[in-house]
């Protein structure tokens, strides 16, 4: 089977990581372990949803981004900006003010990600009409695409093969700028991302370097832009050219329900990755989910408004986008602009290649060998306490048993088993202590008054 090589944008800063197990317990694919007191991410199982980052109390998990100064490598510097960025600001800041601040940071153009949503929608409808299997699943959210590859590989053929708005708009706008006579190598399109999954998908995809030259985290750009806005004197009138306005549908495309609303038949919109997993599990096992035609699945609660790199509260962001998108023109500007060449180029390049399954495999070998390993896991489970404390460095007892069978952990990693083994004289105290140190790091069991919640925290 062809295996997709996953690029990951989520990184762990070992100096900050205190091996607290929060991320390990939150990970929806069970991809995190603790070793030597630090969290480790299993690369093949991670889907870049960002749940670990959200749960980290020490900000040890971060999203790798490109150096902001890199935009100055290009003469023509484009900020490819999603609607969610506008939603970071309250209604008292106009779109013009926001965009002028971003331009002041050094961008020569600001272009909106959802500008191509109507074209994408048309292609999705076309594919849906020809789909043999229902429900079709939107490929909008890259964390969901990976989740399906890893945990629901049988559903890869249900995915609609169309570019995400960021890719479609980069393709389109690059062509527009070329049409204006700007040489390709002078065009630097930088995407402002609300999440890690988008970065991972962009950097892992073909054609990344040809249209999108880099990624800027939304919180970084927000801080820079907000700083400019705060320091403007009263009565300041921004002067800059605005990108073509978006329609209501385009502005709401990345919101929960933004896609589902525009398809015919039974359409469901589900957000938050655990909700999605729960729904897909049900869909695979019961006949409760019947006659559904279209699924819009998003990894974050409130979709992109809830992205890990968004600064504002997700409910406020969603509400602001709803408000700002009211009373808008209904005709997408993409057809009104005279960029027919770019439009027809996008039409020809709007699809993506079929998505390959990349199932999470616990064991190698023949069915016989795998069955034996599963039997071993069941035997181990007879002894493990089943309270899923995580003190062994695996997310739960079941995972520890599987790790043991894969020779990635030991029975004595379980603190309950250590007590048992000590009682029966199979393990001495010193040895038990060394085992705990191996999982939790050397000085982990020492008194530390500077740790979170302790009396000198922050001193």
């Amino acid at each position: 089977m062809e295996k997709a090589d996953f690029y990951h944008a989520l990184k762990i800063e070992n100096d900050r990581c205190i091996g607290c197990t929060h991320c390990m317990k939150e990970c929806p694919t069970g991809a995190i372990r603790i070793q030597d007191g630090k969290a480790l991410i299993h690369k093949d199982w991670c889907v870049d949803c960002g749940e670990c980052l959200k749960s980290c109390p020490t900000e040890a998990i971060y999203v790798e981004q490109d150096d902001f100064q890199r935009i100055f490598d290009y003469k023509c510097r484009v900020a490819l900006m999603p609607t969610v960025f506008i939603g970071q600001f309250s209604k008292y800041t106009t779109e013009k003010e926001i965009i002028s601040a971003v331009m002041e940071l050094g961008f020569t153009h600001v272009f909106q990600v959802e500008f191509t949503a109507d074209m994408i929608h048309k292609e999705m409808v076309r594919q849906m009409e020809n789909a043999e299997e229902k429900p079709v699943i939107s490929s909008f959210c890259p964390a969901i695409v990976r989740l399906i590859q890893v945990r629901f590989p049988a559903l890869v053929d249900n995915l609609l093969l169309v570019k995400a708005p960021v890719n479609a708009s980069a393709t389109y706008y690059h062509k527009v700028l070329e049409g204006e006579g700007i040489p390709s190598e002078e065009i630097g399109i930088f995407y402002v991302t609300p999440c890690a999954a988008k970065i991972a998908a962009l950097k892992g995809a073909e054609g990344y370097s040809s249209t999108i030259k880099g990624v800027i985290n939304m919180d970084t750009l927000y801080n820079k832009a907000y700083h400019i806005l705060k320091n403007r004197s009263g009565g300041y009138e921004p002067e800059c050219e605005l990108p073509p306005p978006l329609t209501k549908k385009e502005m709401r495309w990345s919101q929960t329900g933004g896609e589902a609303k525009h398809f015919s038949g039974r359409c469901l919109a589900i957000d938050e990755i655990h909700n999605v997993i729960d729904f897909l599990e049900r869909m695979e096992t019961t006949s409760e989910v019947r006659n559904v035609d279209f699924l819009e699945l998003r990894a974050c609660d409130r979709s992109c408004a809830g992205g890990v790199l968004a600064v504002a509260n997700r409910f406020l962001t969603a509400e602001r986008i709803m408000k700002r998108s009211m009373n808008r023109d209904k005709v997408p500007m993409i057809y009104a602009a005279d960029n027919f060449e770019a439009l027809s180029y996008l039409k020809q390049h709007i699809t993506i290649r079929p998505v390959q399954p990349n199932p999470k495999r616990l064991y190698d070998g023949t069915i016989d060998e795998m069955l034996k390993k599963m039997e071993q896991v069941r035997k181990l489970m007879c002894y493990l306490p089943g309270i899923d404390c995580g003190a062994c460095g695996s997310p739960n007892c079941q995972s520890l048993a599987e790790d043991i069978v894969r020779h990635e952990a030991q029975f004595s990693d379980c603190v309950f088993m250590q007590r048992n083994m000590e009682k029966h004289g199979k393990l001495d105290q010193e040895h038990a202590f060394r085992i705990v140190e191996r999982t939790w790091g050397k000085d982990r069991l020492n008194k530390d008054c500077y740790k979170k919640g302790a009396k000198y925290e922050g001193l």
Partner: protein, 141 residues
């Protein structure tokens, strides 16, 4: 490898537990997804049957390297006429069960369609035993 699950007559909120557990195991074994789907559909329908008609029952799943054998044994009213029960659209489900979206008379026919072997033994007012076998290396029925 053996798995056993209990079923409780009338408790539709729990129905599907056995099929979802079995699905997870088959996925881990990297069984062809099309075969997994068929096994899971058949087992789910069988679970629904027990919950809809019987008082209580058990599911025993036996997993071998080449096949999965499922046995659903229940204490219940039994099936007086098995060939009639096997025909599509025939149902003895109560109004209450139909209101929950079950009881379309497709259970047994659907099970038969999705497994390689199906046998039914039943005694009126005592109970029913359904046995199903699916082979992993055999291409679709």
């Amino acid at each position: 490898m053996l798995f056993k699950f209990e079923l409780e007559g009338g408790n539709f909120s729990k129905v599907g537990y056995a099929s979802s557990q079995i699905k997870k195991v088959l996925k881990q074994l990297a069984i062809d997804p099309r075969i997994i789907k068929r096994v899971v559909v058949a087992l789910y329908e069988a679970e629904v049957n027990v919950v809809a008609h019987a008082w209580r029952g058990t599911v025993v799943a036996k997993l071998d390297a080449d096949k999965i054998s499922l046995e659903l044994k229940d204490e219940g009213p039994g099936i007086p006429d098995i060939p009639l029960a096997m025909s599509e659209g025939y149902s003895t489900a109560s109004e209450a069960v139909r209101e929950m979206g079950f009881g379309a008379g497709m259970g047994l026919p659907n099970m038969k369609k999705n497994v390689d072997e199906l046998t039914i033994e039943s005694q009126v007012d005592v109970g029913t035993t359904v046995r199903m076998v699916t082979w992993f290396n055999k291409k679709g029925a």
